[in-house]
Subunit: 168 residues, 3 copies
């Protein structure tokens, strides 16, 4: 069974950079599984920045919804980096998919993978309760997804100002 | 003097589940002191979910305001779980009670209890400054209450994606 | 080279108090470099509370923008406490200064200081994505500034409910 790692933290806390280092430390070349879709200019700019930082040791796949499929299809030795679970959850919720079933399936698939995988997610639940009901539902869902994937992974790290704290 | 523990973390970070495990580890049956009031359907649903998860080893008390009274009246051996301090603070502020005096009194009462107590609270101060002045006042108050109760307790834990970090 | 420390955490998590203790532990008297400007009554009140807590062992400087200059001009032995970087970033952004150049310059200056310095900053990126584009830009910038200064400092601490976690 391949090693599985979850990295969480606030926005711009250095999670992606840490995840890239950890993934390349597990083997090279590596596979970058991007869950982001470029819906607007701000997001397109952020995706471009992330890609510019990664070098030729990465092969990139885009998979906004079917992470279990993407992980099984790429399960041939090279480590995978999934960036990130909160965007994946957004894609599921905006497309009216059943995120609870999807996240249970992902958690169940992790221990059966043979190549390593590193997941990036976000802490979104440490602010004031949002006034918007959809935002409240999303942050509840994000917290539950993080718990499920953290329980399934071998390691859990919290990133603070670019530095990791090992939680599990 | 009974052991006293404070557990904090973001929403849906697994705090309540951790608190239940810790409380039952201190003795069974245990007393669940709920500070929540079911003001609306969303909150009623959340309370029902929490209750469904707890089993017959729990005796439930509802106390939205007088936590010192509830802890003294139930101070006969069984461990207590107070869930949660941020809702208690909300109840105090919405009812125009003096939350500073109330939280000082709670902090002063903790070392005098003979049975154990586990408190759950929330991290609400790690987002952007809210535009709403009441929300700003609430998150300041929540931070101060968390500091006071943490100072009075024997242990402080931060919950991240379902996993605890021991802070104190 | 003087010791350099960065302390981060949510609002009202006890960062300033911890920073004051750590600074005085590095030498007395100490210099308090305040980045806050009293734009409104709420902020004036907060500044007054902070000043009232500090005693005669502090010499206070106000410097909303030029932190590199303030640190070099006060670099004669006594430890400095800079409170805080997120207000400094706000001042830079509101005044249309180039915060990226300014924060690179600050990070580069830190290893060249001969007296110790303790910086306080805020975690602002662990809530829901703000609807306001300026708030999103600010929390991204704050995360990047925190990473840069954390990388330049000898120590990094996360404050939770008044208690520190050593991250670096």
């Amino acid at each position: 069974m391949g090693k599985s790692i979850l990295i969480t933290g606030g926005v711009r806390s250095g999670k992606s950079r840490l995840a890239e280092r950890m993934t390349l430390g597990l083997g090279q070349p590596a596979v970058y599984i991007a869950t982001a879709e470029a819906h607007d200019d701000e997001m397109a700019e952020r995706i471009a920045q992330h890609q510019a930082r990664r070098g030729p040791e990465w092969h990139t796949l885009a998979e906004p919804l079917d992470l279990v499929g993407a992980l099984r299809n790429s399960d041939s030795g090279a480590p995978r980096l999934v960036d990130c679970l909160t965007l994946w959850l957004s894609n599921l919720m905006l497309g009216d998919h059943d995120w609870q079933t999807a996240s249970d399936a992902l958690a169940a698939a992790i221990p059966e993978l043979s190549a390593p995988v590193v997941f990036v997610t976000n802490e979104v639940g440490a602010g004031i309760v949002p006034e918007n009901a959809l935002a409240r539902a999303y942050r509840d869902a994000a917290g539950l997804v993080n718990q499920k994937i953290a329980a399934a992974c071998d390691e859990l790290w919290l990133c603070v100002a670019g530095h990791p704290i090992k939680v599990k």
